[in-house]
Symmetry: C2
Subunit: 210 residues, 2 copies
């Protein structure tokens, strides 16, 4: 298990690339596993081979997911982030960009792995993407913080398998509180989910960063 | 991509068991991939083998994740659900139980795969677990529905790698609107995240179920 005090491995681009490739392959395997219709014997045979590969990866085990060396901001460098992390197979990953005026934005597509209601994105997955985007927008105002409140309004179902857009922006800062809002929209541009959030900068963030 | 109109494969226990075993192996592989410190050559070699296994699973591909034949309610049977689904490698999975008085409850542990702030659960992941638990609590009042609003209050960080408890209960029903609330608590019993939600039963749910 990771710890706040755990020293993180910092990976340069050359070190990160093969691990990102590995994560991409596990991501594709995950989708194949959710949709496969192979018989019981083949499922068991593949499962056994996966177990052997897992042991090979465990031969050298880190205490916590590594960070990436980037010239960007703190959230970008979290390679294992479950929304944006290129090293995490459960992340779509959502590749969040920041514009000059502090708007956080990404286009992304969610596979059947993220299904909630039949043919639609799980409401919790939309919450997860928005929490991450709003958190990154909050971080544009300074050091960022941890989610204190998150409010979501689901206006219509969010479809799977088509290009979606997430956008977020910080609206104001009051001491250690940072407010942000954002949306997910479908390919027709219509908003499917709206979010507002308040983030609080922990005292130790301020100590570390200054 | 799945479609609302896609005929779902319904898996009995014998058919589901090997696929659940496969998903469990992919889940372990995912955690190993996030934490591995193997070198570039070994990471690439394992990645190639994973790609070959993915092709084997794709040899027979379903249009959408299958459902499970159970004697329970509708959410239980969604084998591919990203929170509770035993067939989905990205699901922890959280094994939600329902008590006689309609309280939905589970104990679960989240690995480093779900890390947000260093050593803590990603705020969006807590939202995802709560959306699922509150949705299942709402379903106990009748046919359930889709999330319309979800409000989360993060009271303290939620730790990784230790037993957590999620609890949810429907509070009232007004026409097609169902209100529910719930919490996640740490091993010391202290609440880390609180949630309230409103679910709306779509008209076609009522038509289908009656």
């Amino acid at each position: 298990m990771s710890g706040a005090m755990t020293e993180r491995h910092m990976l340069g681009e050359d070190e990160a690339a093969p691990l990102a490739g590995l994560a991409a392959r596990v991501r594709a395997l995950t989708e194949a596993a959710v949709l496969t219709g192979v018989g019981a014997d083949e499922a068991r045979a593949v499962a056994d081979e996966i177990a052997a590969l897992t042991e090979r990866l465990r031969a050298v085990r880190r205490d916590a997911p590594p960070f990436l060396v980037t010239d960007g901001h703190r959230m970008d460098r979290q390679g294992g982030n479950p929304v944006t992390g290129v090293l995490n197979p459960i992340a779509p990953p959502v590749d969040l960009d920041v514009t000059a005026d502090g708007i956080v934005r990404a286009e992304f597509t969610l596979s059947d792995v993220y299904e909630g209601p039949p043919s639609y994105v799980h409401g919790g997955m939309s919450a997860m993407v928005l929490d991450q985007a709003l958190g990154m927008a909050a971080a544009q105002t300074g050091v960022g913080g941890m989610t204190a409140t998150l409010e979501l309004r689901y206006r219509r179902p969010t479809p799977l398998g088509v290009p979606l857009t997430v956008e977020a922006k910080a609206s104001r800062v009051e001491g250690r509180k940072i407010y942000a809002s954002g949306t997910i929209a479908g390919p027709d541009g219509r908003v499917t989910v709206e979010a507002t959030a308040m983030f609080v900068t922990p005292q130790h963030f301020l100590v570390h960063e200054r």
